[in-house]
Assembly symmetry: C2
């Protein structure tokens, strides 16, 4: 192999930061990887390089030693030190960064085709933290001192079973506590082994999608509906079938007409997102009957049913289900706080192996410490107490928001579905651009989530989704007045 | 609609637990959903039902009121109370649980076809917590008091930005601290915005798979290799291409022969899992050149490179990559503890939108509190100090394990790749059933991970993977002697 003269060594620029031997080794590795130094090419002696760079010989010796050990350099008696002959060589133009003027056509940089469908719609409303940020509970009313104490208790006294990879389904005592809570409050029928702790509702939807759906499978989704459900379907390459909703919730007959053999139906029966309807008893039974007949699954997303202020009382679809077709999705993001990232699934028994496999493949298990703290939080009564307090607080805030809308925007905002949760939806007159409104509102310091991105089909209604969970009553009135200024 | 006589009402069995009105409402809902009570069917008067059940009339009134409000019952003057006519009716046999003697063919209960491939191989070795459980660090040497203090600090003093949904990429100050650490220790070149916090390495692999691979896409995996990589590929329906490894790591030329246009290559260049080889400089450059030529991606899983005891020193493949083809996967499971569920990805800049979309679709973001605590843990020097201490501890445990093997099983276990990490792999004579050995070892209180399930092709070598991270020196000798008893 031709030994190139060392004079061709490209110039090395040393920086002030970082050890010199590391900078040198780094420079040589990259020059070799980029093909700027070729296999067999002789490199300067340590003495010559040190002289050229004006540094002591010691770092150069260290760098060469490292590069020898790593296999980038080799030495031959009489030939000095060379780039290892085993290094494969390609013309350096291909190795240059793409931003350079290299003439060769750059190789493609493909990402998954379904990435666009996985992305959430533009979220301008997230740029403001103020009124009426959606999905945020009353953070300053959370009992932080209690929570901190429970965390410390478990962080200090740790057995090894709390530190290693946990059960894929989660901390068993916590699962038991949640099952009891669901049985009492939501009439959900389940054994502890059917409950799987997740890292939030979106994560729960993904476990469902991965366990149940293959690419190309069709799934009913509410139209308008929760964008996260579309994102979950897109992640597994499933195809959403848009099923309209009305005042009784998802129009099951329309779903049957559009896709009678869909593999799955995603519904929010307690409090339809975003229009707020409660699914009627007749529709619930119709949906269960379809699933049992078609051999399909129902994913019941019960994202905020802890807070209910009137209208039809409801129990979970899961409790009505006698053919074990319903997977129930819950979250603690609304009752505790979103950054906790804890939720749960209630899974039919025969689906447990599939759900455990999907969960294990996705991310193994959820962190243990918050599960242990949450267990105590529930068992020591803080959970029930917090829900009771928040229900009163949110009822007052909801009333304040409705009053402010009546006062300041009576003919502009038409409130629908305000019976539950921590948000209400209001329709705007057709033709009002709710995305532009949301953008203007953000500039005015108001967070207004537009309704139209919740539609995926041709017909899109204009409206706003207003969260009142983390907004005190004074700020509610001020927020509605600011919103009026944006209209 | 025919009004059925109320005498046909099936018997109601009240239980001692739970309010009577809830039990009654629950019974009626299910009886209606199952078709045992038909639309239009008259139900007993509250007085008659209370008398029949021997309870006060009050809970019966409450139950009926609830069922009216929910839409299950309706009343007509002169006709009494009936099951709502709007409820859809199907023959009750279809509604019975599948386990019953119903003659109708039960509807199918399909799960995703790829669930089998998503499942991990049987993990008998997880049933013992003792020596030589793989993947567990020295839990009793972790500074729990420090960690607990840092958690408490952030749990008590919380601003709202620490409680709401966080940045999809994670807590910015933590990302900055990790980028600095990686630059110094692993020669990884990245800006802070290229670093994404994950919920562990498996989760990181899944984000890669979802952002980069479509169903049917082919991906190189090491053979033998890390089962989690196969699980991640299966989750997105990608097809693994088995590429053999030798003492220099993945045989890139073999990969090029088998699948020259594979979309991705998954490698563990620092410490091949499970055989322990370090990928040579020549192979590294060959792999980078292939990826740049073929327009493919490289996922570099650097799962335990913090601990290295000799042999070739190495820097990350990512730092050599001049065409931005490498996604670097790291985890804190080995340095801190697995139940923490925190890791990270270093992502080429142009891939960030795809990775953010995949992450948002999968589970939104990681919990905030541990990220804040980990930031302080790194910045206050605990992280570097813990790594230094553990490196010395593990080096001693590794030496003890090698000595015990030399003493007790010199001709049976042939150690390979013990230069890094917290585990070593030893080959067994061909024909030894390592899965059966693992099962026997578990019964003897020893956790021994079999090697053969790491192979997915025809040829499978027999061996054991022995973790020494959480095993003190006395237990190491005892464990090897017990393992000898199982052979």
């Amino acid at each position: 192999m031709k030994r190139l003269p060392t004079g061709l060594l490209p110039s090395i620029a040393l920086e002030d930061s970082g050890p010199i031997y590391q900078q040198l080794a780094d420079w040589f590795r990259r020059a070799i990887a980029e093909g700027r130094l070729r296999p067999g090419q002789r490199v300067p002696s340590t003495r010559a390089l040190a002289g050229e760079l004006g540094v002591s010989r010691l770092p150069v010796l260290s760098a060469y030693e490292l590069l020898h050990a790593e296999g980038y350099l080799e030495s031959f008696t009489g030939a000095g030190t060379c780039v290892a002959a085993a290094i494969p060589h390609e013309a350096p133009t291909r190795r240059l960064p793409r931003a350079s003027t290299a003439s060769a056509t750059p190789a493609p940089r493909p990402v998954a085709a379904r990435v666009a469908a996985m992305a959430s719609p533009p979220q301008t409303w997230l740029k403001s933290q103020g009124a009426f940020r959606v999905g945020v509970p009353a953070l300053d009313h959370f009992p932080h001192a209690v929570w901190s104490r429970l965390l410390s208790r478990h962080a200090r006294h740790v057995g090894s079973e709390a530190l290693i990879y946990g059960d894929t389904s989660g901390h068993a005592p916590l699962r038991e506590a949640i099952v009891e809570y669901l049985a009492t409050v939501r009439a959900v029928h389940a054994d502890t082994d059917q409950l799987m702790i997740t890292s939030g509702a979106q994560h729960g939807l993904q476990i469902c999608a991965h366990a149940l759906l293959d690419p190309g499978d069709r799934a009913w989704v509410e139209e308008p509906g929760y964008p996260g459900a579309h994102q979950a379907l897109a992640a597994v390459g499933a195809v959403p079938v848009l099923v309209p909703v009305d005042a009784d919730g998802m129009d099951v007959a329309a779903g049957v007409r559009r896709a009678p053999t869909a593999r799955l139906a995603y519904v929010t029966p307690s409090h339809q997102f975003p229009l707020g309807a409660t699914m009627s008893a007749a529709r619930r039974i119709e949906l269960l009957q379809w699933a049992a007949r078609a051999g399909s699954w129902i994913v019941e997303d019960d994202y905020d049913s802890e807070y209910r202020y009137g209208g039809r009382p409801i129990t979970a679809l899961q409790g009505l289900d006698t053919d074990a077709r319903v997977i129930y999705v819950g979250t603690f993001s609304k009752v505790l706080f979103p950054a906790l990232r804890l939720g749960y699934l209630v899974v039919p028994k025969d689906l447990l192996p599939a759900f455990r496999a999907a969960r294990d493949a996705l991310d193994t298990c959820s962190p243990m410490l918050p599960q242990r703290a949450l267990h105590d939080f529930i068992r020591e009564g803080h959970f029930a107490r917090h829900i009771r307090r928040m229900r009163m607080l949110y009822a007052a805030r909801r009333a304040a928001l409705q009053a402010a809308i009546r006062q300041h925007l009576p003919d502009t905002l038409h409130v629908v579905g305000a019976e539950a949760g921590m948000q209400l939806t209001a329709r705007l007159a057709p033709g009002v651009d709710d995305i532009a409104l949301s953008r203007r509102a953000t500039q005015a310091g108001v967070s207004v989530r537009p309704l139209s991105p919740c539609y995926r089909g041709e017909t899109r209604c204009s409206g706003v989704i207003l969260g009142y969970g983390n907004v005190d009553e004074d700020a509610i009135d001020e927020g509605v007045r600011r919103l009026r200024g944006c209209l």
